[in-house]
C-alpha cells in the first residue's frame, strides 16, 4: 500500500485563519473610512494608501534583513491593518514624510524588532501615533473641519499636492483650512472657564459629539458590532472600556454638568469608538483572559477620561492603550481562570 500521511490529532484544517480575521477587521473598518472620506476629504484615502504601501515595503525590508520568508508575514495582512489604523488616526493632510516616519517606526521598531506578529508588546499603530503626536504636535493636531462646516473642499489632486508638496490651492492658507478637533476645542474652551452650555452654542457641535465626528464614530461602532457578530473579537474589552469611560463621564457630569460634558460626548469623540473595537482589542497586545479583558478595558476607559480631562493632550486613546499594553501580562497572570475540577486558585 502507498505511504500514508502521518499526523497528530486533531485531524483536518481549522476553518479559521489569521488572514481571514484580518480581512474581517479591514472590512469592518470600511464604513467608518468611507464616512471619514465623506467628512474630511480625499486626504484620508491618500493617507491610508500611502501608509499601506509604506507598511508593506518596510515589512518586506525587515523580513529580508531577518532572512525570513516574505509570503506568510505579508499575506497575514497584519501590516495592512496597522497601516490603516494609523492612516485614519492622523490628520487628513499630514505631510507625507511624517506618515512615513510613523509607519517605519510602527513596522520596524514596534513590530518586527520584537519578533513580528504575535511578539510585539505594544500596539504598533498606537505607538507610532504617540510618537508622532509628541514629535510633531502642531501637524498632528491640525485637523480639517468636517465638510458641513467649511466651504473649502479640496479635490483629490489638490489633497495630493497638499500632502506631498505642502502647496495649497491659491488663496488658501493652512490656518484657514485647518481646525481643532471637537475634543481639542472642548478642552481649550473649558480651560478658559467657559460653561458647557456656552461652548455648545458653536456650530461645531452635533447631538452629543462634534458634527461629522459623531457619525464617523457611529460607523466604527457598526463595524465593531460586525466583528462581535463574526466572533473576531469578544465583547469584554469594548464593553468594559466604553462602560468605564461613560461611568467616569457620568460621575463628573452629575457633579458639575457645566464643566464636564455629557458622558456620550466622550464615547463619540476622538478615537474612543475606534479604540474600543479596533485598537484595544488587538489580541497580541491585550489581555487574553476574560476577567483580565474586563479589567484591561475598564482601565483604558478610565485612563482615557483622566488624560482627556486633566492630561496634556486632547485625546488619550493611544496613551491609554499603550499604558495598559504594559500592564496586560501582569493582569493576565492574576486573572487566570479556574481550571475545571480545581478549587478557586489560592494566590501564592
Amino acid at each position: 500500500m502507498n505511504a500514508l500521511l502521518q499526523h497528530s490529532s486533531p485531524h483536518g484544517t481549522p476553518q479559521n485563519n489569521v488572514t481571514r480575521m484580518m480581512l474581517q477587521v479591514l472590512l469592518a473598518l470600511v464604513p467608518g473610512i468611507i464616512a471619514m472620506i465623506w467628512y474630511f476629504g480625499w486626504g484620508v484615502l491618500i493617507n491610508i494608501l500611502l501608509s499601506c504601501s509604506a507598511a508593506v515595503f518596510f515589512e518586506a525590508l525587515v523580513l529580508k534583513w531577518r532572512k525570513r520568508p516574505l509570503q506568510p508575514a505579508l499575506s497575514d495582512l497584519s501590516a495592512i491593518v496597522t497601516a490603516v489604523l494609523l492612516g485614519i488616526a492622523i490628520p487628513p493632510l499630514l505631510p507625507w514624510w511624517i506618515t512615513l516616519i510613523g509607519i517605519a517606526f510602527a513596522i520596524i521598531i514596534v513590530k518586527q524588532l520584537y519578533g513580528g506578529l504575535g511578539y510585539n508588546p505594544f500596539n504598533p499603530a498606537m505607538a507610532a501615533y504617540a510618537l508622532l503626536l509628541v514629535s510633531y504636535p502642531i501637524q498632528m493636531t491640525s485637523w480639517l473641519p468636517p465638510e458641513m462646516l467649511t466651504d473649502v473642499h479640496l479635490s483629490f489632486s489638490q489633497s495630493l499636492s497638499a500632502i506631498f508638496s505642502g502647496i495649497l490651492p491659491a488663496g488658501l492658507s493652512w490656518d484657514a483650512i485647518s481646525m481643532a478637533t471637537p475634543l481639542d476645542d472642548m478642552r481649550t474652551q473649558l480651560g478658559q472657564s467657559n460653561m458647557i452650555s456656552e461652548i455648545r452654542q458653536s456650530p461645531l457641535w452635533g447631538d452629543y459629539g462634534g458634527r461629522g465626528w459623531e457619525w464617523v464614530a457611529n460607523w466604527y461602532f457598526l463595524g465593531g458590532l460586525y466583528l462581535l457578530y463574526k466572533r473576531v473579537i469578544s465583547w469584554h474589552i469594548p464593553v468594559s472600556m466604553l462602560a468605564s469611560l461613560a461611568l467616569f463621564g457620568l460621575i463628573f457630569f452629575s457633579l458639575d454638568p457645566q464643566s464636564h460634558p455629557v458622558p456620550l460626548f466622550h464615547l463619540f469623540s476622538g478615537g474612543a469608538m475606534l479604540g474600543a473595537f479596533f485598537i484595544a482589542t488587538d489580541p497580541v497586545t491585550a489581555c487574553t483572559t476574560r476577567k483580565g479583558q474586563l479589567i484591561y478595558g475598564a482601565c483604558i476607559g478610565a485612563l482615557i477620561y483622566i488624560i482627556r480631562s486633566w492630561g496634556g493632550f486632547p485625546d488619550a486613546v493611544a496613551f491609554a492603550v499603550l499604558l495598559m499594553n504594559m500592564a496586560a501580562p501582569t493582569i493576565d497572570y492574576y486573572t487566570r481562570p479556574r481550571t475545571f475540577g480545581h478549587a478557586e486558585r489560592e494566590r501564592d
Binding site: S8, G12, T288, T289, F340, H342
Partner: protein
C-alpha cells in the same frame, strides 16, 4: 444556566465551558445495519489491549485453541486477559505490528483459524442475581472487558470503587461525540436488549440511586429505541437523557458535568463524587459476559471515510487484520491518504493497514483526497484567545503553548497542563494553525521523562549511597578485626611469629643488665678518706687558691 429538553423525562442539564460544533460526517456510516464479519484466516491478538500490565501468554505454539478460550492471563491488578476470538491453532507468539501511533510492534498471539469456530461446552447458566458483586466483577475481569469507548481501562477495576465510595449515580455514556463514529449509535438501535441487561447487572452490582443513559440529540432513532427499551424494562431508576450535540460531551468529566452539574476533582476519580461512568458498548459486553459466558471476542467497528467502498459498521473479531476488514467491506474506494484509528479529533494515524483490530478500535477512517486536509504552515500565535473560548478544561491554551515552546516545564504545570484532555478543540479553532495538542503531548512526555529520570537518578543515588555505606562498613569491620588481632598479639608475647634472634638478643641484654645491677660499684680514690687525708687536701686547695689570688711580682 440550565435547560430541560427531554420530553419524556425532564432532566436538568448543565453546561461545560467551551466545546465545539463539528461537522458530524456520521451519515456516511450510520445508515446501514451492523454486518458481522466471519473469522479471518489469521488472527493477531495483541497481549496488551488495555491500560495496565500486558497479559501473559498461556498457550504455546502449535496448541489448538477454542473460541473464547483464554490465551493470555492478566498480570497484576490493573490488567485484563485476552481470548481466542475463533478456534484454530496457535502458529506464533511474537512481535507484530499493532495499532499504535508509534507504528511499533508488540507481542501478539497469532492464531491460524480453522473456520469452524468451535466453542467449549458452555457452563450451566445460572441467575446472576444470586451472585455477589465481587463474583460478578471477577467474571467481568475474566471476560477481558476494558472500556470500549476507546480508553480501554479494565472494567472490573473501574467497577471496584471500594467500600468508601458509594456510587449514587451510574452514567451510561452513549454520547459518541466524535465525528464519523457511529458504532454506539448502531449498537443501541440493534442490540438494545444487551444494553438493558448490562444496565440491570450493573445496577445489581453497584446499587446506585439512579442510572442515566446519555445520548446526543443527533441520534434520534437510538434515543427513541433506548427510551422504549428502558420503559419496557421496568427499570424505574433509569433515565434516558437527550443531551445537546457538542464536542466533547462524551468526555467522562464533561458528561458528568452535563448530567449532574458536578466537577470531578482534578486529583480524584468520579467515584470520589459518587459517580461511575461506563461506555454503552462496555455495558453490552458485560451482559454477554455474564449471561452468555461469552468473553470479549469481537466489537463493533465503524469503518468509514471517503476512501472506503462500503462504509458502515462491522462486527469484527478482536485480532482481525484491518486489511482483511477493509477487503470484506469492499476494499478501498480510492487510495487513502491516511488511516485514522479513532475519531478525527482524538484518533491517531496508522502507518499501514497490516494491524489488527483491538478492543479499543471503535472507528477506522480512510480519508479520501481532500478529506480532513492537514494544515501545513503554522503562523505565530496572535494570542487571539479562540482556543481559550473552546477549552472544556478551562485552561489557557495560549499560555500552555508559550511555555511548551519555551520548555518551561515548571510554569506549564503551574498552568495545569495535566488537566488537558487532548480533545483537540484548541487546535481546531486556531487561526494560526498551530498544532497545539502536539505541543502539549510533547510537554507531557518531557515531564514524564524528566520524572522518570529523576526516579532513576534517585534510585542510582540511593544505590550509590548504599554502596558507600557498605564499603565504609566493610572498612570498619576490617579495621576492628586488625585492632583485635593486635591486641591479642600484645597479650601473648611468646607468639610463634616473634623473631627468635631478636628474642635471644633481648634475653642477653636483659642478662647483662641484671649482672650490672648486681655487681658492687668500684671505689673512687677520693672516697673513704681518713681525717689526715682530708686535712692534706684542704691544705693543698688553700695553697692553690693563694697562688691564684697573689700572683708573683
Amino acid at each position: 444556566m440550565s435547560f430541560s429538553n427531554n420530553l419524556h423525562h425532564p432532566q436538568r442539564l448543565w453546561h461545560f465551558h467551551g466545546g465545539l460544533h463539528l461537522e458530524e460526517c456520521k451519515a456516511l456510516s450510520n445508515g446501514t445495519e451492523i454486518r458481522p464479519m466471519p473469522a479471518p484466516e489469521k488472527l493477531y491478538i495483541p497481549l496488551a489491549q488495555h491500560i495496565g500490565g500486558p497479559a501473559e501468554a498461556m498457550v504455546s505454539i502449535g496448541e489448538t485453541v477454542l473460541s473464547g478460550q483464554k490465551i493470555g492471563r492478566a498480570q497484576g491488578y490493573i490488567s485484563a486477559p485476552v481470548h481466542a476470538s475463533s478456534s484454530g491453532r496457535v502458529i506464533d507468539i511474537g512481535d507484530y505490528p499493532v495499532p499504535h501511533p508509534s507504528g511499533l510492534s508488540a507481542p501478539c498471539i497469532v492464531i491460524q483459524t480453522d473456520g469452524e469456530d468451535r466453542w467449549p461446552q458452555p457452563p450451566a447458566s445460572e441467575n446472576y442475581s444470586s451472585l455477589q458483586s465481587g463474583e460478578l466483577r471477577e467474571r467481568i475481569r475474566e471476560a477481558g472487558i476494558a472500556g470500549l469507548g476507546g480508553a480501554l481501562f479494565p472494567t472490573s477495576v473501574k467497577l471496584n470503587a471500594g467500600p468508601e465510595h458509594k456510587i449514587s449515580t451510574l452514567i451510561i455514556n452513549a454520547v459518541e461525540c466524535e465525528p464519523y463514529i457511529s458504532s454506539d449509535d448502531r449498537l443501541m438501535r440493534e442490540q438494545s436488549a444487551d444494553i438493558i441487561n448490562g444496565i440491570r447487572i450493573l445496577m445489581h452490582m453497584l446499587k446506585p440511586e439512579r442510572c442515566l443513559l446519555a445520548i446526543e440529540d443527533n441520534k434520534p432513532q437510538a434515543l427513541d429505541i433506548m427510551r422504549q427499551a428502558v420503559s419496557e424494562s421496568g427499570l424505574k431508576q433509569c433515565l434516558v437523557c437527550k443531551i445537546p450535540t457538542l464536542y466533547p460531551s462524551g468526555g467522562e468529566k464533561q458528561l458528568i458535568r452535563i448530567l449532574t452539574g458536578k466537577e470531578v476533582p482534578w486529583n480524584g476519580l468520579p467515584a470520589n463524587i459518587g459517580i461511575l461512568v461506563q461506555n454503552v458498548a462496555t455495558v453490552a459486553a458485560i451482559a454477554q459476559a455474564i449471561l452468555q459466558h461469552r468473553p470479549l471476542l469481537s466489537r463493533i467497528v465503524t469503518l468509514t471515510g471517503q476512501g472506503i467502498a462500503k462504509p458502515g459498521n462491522y462486527e469484527v473479531r478482536i485480532g482481525t487484520p484491518l486489511s482483511d476488514l477493509i477487503a470484506f467491506a469492499g476494499g478501498y474506494q480510492q487510495p487513502p491518504e491516511r488511516l485514522i484509528m479513532g475519531g478525527p479529533m482524538m484518533g491517531f494515524t496508522l502507518h499501514n493497514d497490516a494491524v489488527p483490530i483491538t478492543k479499543g478500535s471503535n472507528c477506522i477512517i480512510a480519508t479520501g483526497r481532500d478529506e480532513l486536509p492537514e494544515a501545513v504552515d503554522a503562523l505565530a500565535c496572535t494570542r487571539c484567545g479562540q482556543c481559550e473560548r473552546v477549552c472544556p478544561a478551562q485552561l489557557l491554551p495560549q499560555q500552555l503553548y508559550w511555555y511548551a515552546r519555551a520548555r518551561d516545564m515548571d510554569k506549564i504545570q503551574d498552568y495545569n497542563l495535566f488537566d488537558c484532555i487532548e480533545c483537540g478543540c484548541c487546535a481546531h479553532v486556531c487561526p494560526s494553525h498551530i498544532p497545539l495538542v502536539q505541543y502539549y503531548r510533547f510537554a507531557k512526555n518531557e515531564i514524564w521523562a524528566k520524572e522518570e529520570d529523576k526516579r532513576k537518578s534517585d534510585r542510582a543515588r540511593e544505590r550509590h549511597q548504599a554502596r558507600e555505606a557498605r564499603l565504609a562498613r566493610l572498612e570498619q569491620q576490617r579495621k576492628s578485626r586488625l585492632r583485635r588481632k593486635k591486641e591479642a598479639l600484645n597479650k601473648k608475647p611468646g607468639n610463634k611469629t616473634a623473631d627468635p634472634k631478636k628474642t635471644a638478643i633481648e634475653a642477653a641484654m636483659k642478662r647483662v643488665a641484671e649482672k650490672k645491677k648486681n655487681r658492687p660499684a668500684t671505689a673512687a680514690n677520693t672516697q673513704n678518706l681518713s681525717a689526715d687525708q682530708e686535712k692534706q687536701i684542704q691544705q693543698a686547695n688553700a695553697r692553690r687558691q693563694a697562688t691564684t689570688e697573689d700572683p708573683p711580682a
